[in-house]
């Protein structure tokens, strides 16, 4: 409710008042937002009525028990669900206020602007260099020196450069699991997205590698809006700024039961079910 109110006033502000206010408002408006979003697989409703703002330069975590539609919701944010035959949505998903499901939106461009890191590290069976250069190469011919720079800076951003700088020509599959996942993050970063979606990025990693990825997320947060789905509540508590709690309803559709600042969710949750879940009483 308050969310809606801020948005309305923000819109009024944008239309009526001068540039100063606009910049302030722009910083305040969410980078992405789902509005009453329902996701269907054919007739089955997997996610029901989710309204979730994703703020820029913040980490939004989605938590909840298995099967509650967290990943489905995440995959709707960059239209990855389009790949599943029979999937469709109701409601709206906006990026900078633009409806990404509008008929005139190009799904390929959307995925360029909204990068994704998957549950299991999935580097291409190519060299480390070619993995990182994959995105930039898609967007046109780039001079070698420039590409070298992009690869280096992306690997640095993913805190992987020092470990791989001498073996850029080796296969990405030769790296350890944690390194592979950071390679995937570097690959996503090299494509210069605006939002990064992470689908349980640490679930296949050991605690040390997990810690590295978490530190990395804090760094990346300075430039991107990040949405992370996680099973690990400590992880959500450690890294995120906002937490959305999802649950499965009796009709098996997932719904968002609470959204708040992470600190609040983990200390004084508004919903009894959230409290039970975060305190480990179920799920």
């Amino acid at each position: 409710m308050t969310q809606r109110a801020t948005l309305v006033s923000a819109m009024n502000a944008m239309t009526n008042i001068g540039t100063d206010t606009q910049t302030i408002v722009a910083a305040d408006a969410p980078k992405m937002k789902t509005e009453s979003l329902s996701i269907y697989y054919s007739a089955f409703r997997a996610v029901a009525d989710v309204t979730l703002p994703v703020r820029d330069r913040q980490i939004t975590a989605i938590i909840g028990p298995s099967g509650c539609g967290k990943s489905t919701l995440l995959r709707a944010l960059n239209r990855m669900n389009d790949l599943v035959a029979g999937s469709h949505i109701q409601g709206k998903v906006t990026l900078d206020g633009e409806d990404i499901y509008a008929p005139n939106m190009d799904v390929v461009d959307i995925r360029r602007r909204i990068g994704m890191v998957f549950q299991r590290p999935n580097p291409f069976p190519k060299t480390i260099y070619d993995n990182v250069a994959f995105g930039p190469r898609l967007y046109g011919r780039i001079p070698k020196t420039e590409l070298d720079e992009i690869v280096e800076s992306s690997l640095r951003r993913a805190a992987l450069w020092d470990e791989v700088k001498d073996k850029l020509k080796q296969s990405g599959l030769a790296l350890s699991g944690g390194q592979q996942q950071r390679l995937c993050i570097a690959r996503a970063v090299a494509a210069e997205p605006e939002v990064i979606l992470m689908d349980e990025p640490c679930s296949a990693l050991d605690p040390v590698a997990t810690l590295k990825i978490e530190e990395l997320m804090q760094e990346l947060k300075k430039d991107y809006a990040i949405v992370i789905v996680t099973h690990n509540m400590q992880q959500a508590a450690r890294v995120s700024d906002y937490t959305a709690m999802m649950m499965m309803r009796s009709d098996r559709a997932g719904e968002m039961i609470e959204l708040d600042q992470t600190q609040k969710i983990f200390t004084r949750p508004g919903d009894k079910r959230t409290e039970d879940y975060v305190s480990g009483r179920f799920g």
Binding site: L83, F118, F124, A188
Partner: protein, 327 residues
């Protein structure tokens, strides 16, 4: 009624009792090794089946080797002449394999020029683009094409492809029997093989690879060409090499459409007999047993055998060298 129940109860106790006896005959014997006859029989049967195929191969190698040893042993031919001679005329004692080898290579190259692009494209279409429904119809049809007898393909070459080529390029450039027609039809014959094997390789590429590419904003074509195909390269190479082996070994199409008579030419529009075609024609006629002519076809046979063996080795190398191990 009561009796029946009693009897049944008795039965049950008896079965239980027996079960106990079998399971634990005596506490000291319980862990002793017991013979399992059924296991043994099946195991030897399976071994025998495996052995038959190995034994057959060894037998073939032995026969080929023995007869060609006789061939190369006679004073009329030397291995050097066999390998470098450009005339194959057993009647006058000329045994140069090059004309036969060359036409085998030309027909096979023409065939692969058709089979690789068409087969690979069909495989990409089936695995990346076709809807499950389309695939469920197209794949069986494709496999049906593989089931057409090669003699039918041979007549197809002779009565359809050759007239077509002649009407396009002119009667003068293209002979009635020619390698191009046989090669093209052979390529069509191999398309299902290449397509089916490549499709298996492409489908085996994990979905996560495609998702990664799509997630970076790659189009379907970019994903297929720059991620899925390279990831499946070992399987595709294997498909291509099996296709080449098939082309080299194919007999009926070339025997019918490529020409009867060795001819040393690089022109695919001319008639020339391949190694397989020659063996088929010669062994069909009456050859006196143990003559030099008779032995010569074994020399061709062993050449063919060595070629396909070599290709198989290369294929294994590629499969092992480029196979990616995914998590």
């Amino acid at each position: 009624m009561t009796k029946g129940v009693e009897m049944r109860e008795q039965n049950i106790t008896m079965t239980i009792g027996r079960g106990v006896v079998v399971a634990r005959p005596d506490s000291r014997d319980a862990l002793r090794k017991r013979p399992r006859v059924g296991e043994r029989v099946i195991q030897s049967l399976l071994f025998a089946c495996g052995f038959i195929s190995i034994f057959t191969t060894l037998g073939i190698v032995f026969v080929l080797g023995e007869e060609s040893f006789l061939f190369f042993g006679s004073e009329e031919v030397s291995i050097i002449e066999f390998v470098t001679g450009t005339v194959w005329q057993p009647a006058v004692g000329e045994f140069g394999i090059l004309p036969l080898l060359l036409s085998t290579l030309i027909t096979s190259i023409v065939a692969m020029l058709v089979a690789i692009p068409v087969g690979l494209s069909a495989a990409i279409f089936l695995s990346e683009y076709a809807s499950p429904k389309a695939r469920s119809i197209l794949k069986p049809v494709l496999e049906l094409l593989a089931g057409v007898p090669t003699v039918v393909y041979g007549y197809f070459a002779l009565t359809f492809m050759t007239p077509l080529l002649r009407s396009v390029f002119g009667q003068d450039t293209i002979e009635v029997y020619n390698m191009a027609s046989a090669g093209l039809v052979m390529g069509i014959m191999i398309v299902p093989l290449v397509a089916s094997m490549s499709e298996d390789a492409l489908t085996a590429v994990p979905r996560s690879m495609r998702e990664a590419a799509f997630g970076l904003g790659a189009t379907k074509l970019e994903t297929s060409v720059s991620v899925v195909v390279p990831a499946a390269v070992s399987g595709i190479m294997a498909a291509v090499i099996v296709g080449i082996s098939r082309a080299i070994g194919e007999t009926m199409i070339v025997a019918l459409a490529a020409g009867a008579g060795p001819n040393f030419t690089f022109n695919p529009f001319k008639a020339a007999e391949t190694m397989t075609g020659h063996i088929a024609r010669i062994s069909g006629g009456d050859l006196s047993y143990n003559s030099i002519d008779y032995n010569s076809i074994f020399a061709i046979g062993i050449t063919l055998f060595l070629m396909t063996l070599g290709l198989n080795i290369i294929s294994r190398y590629f499969v092992n060298r480029f196979r990616e191990v995914y998590q």
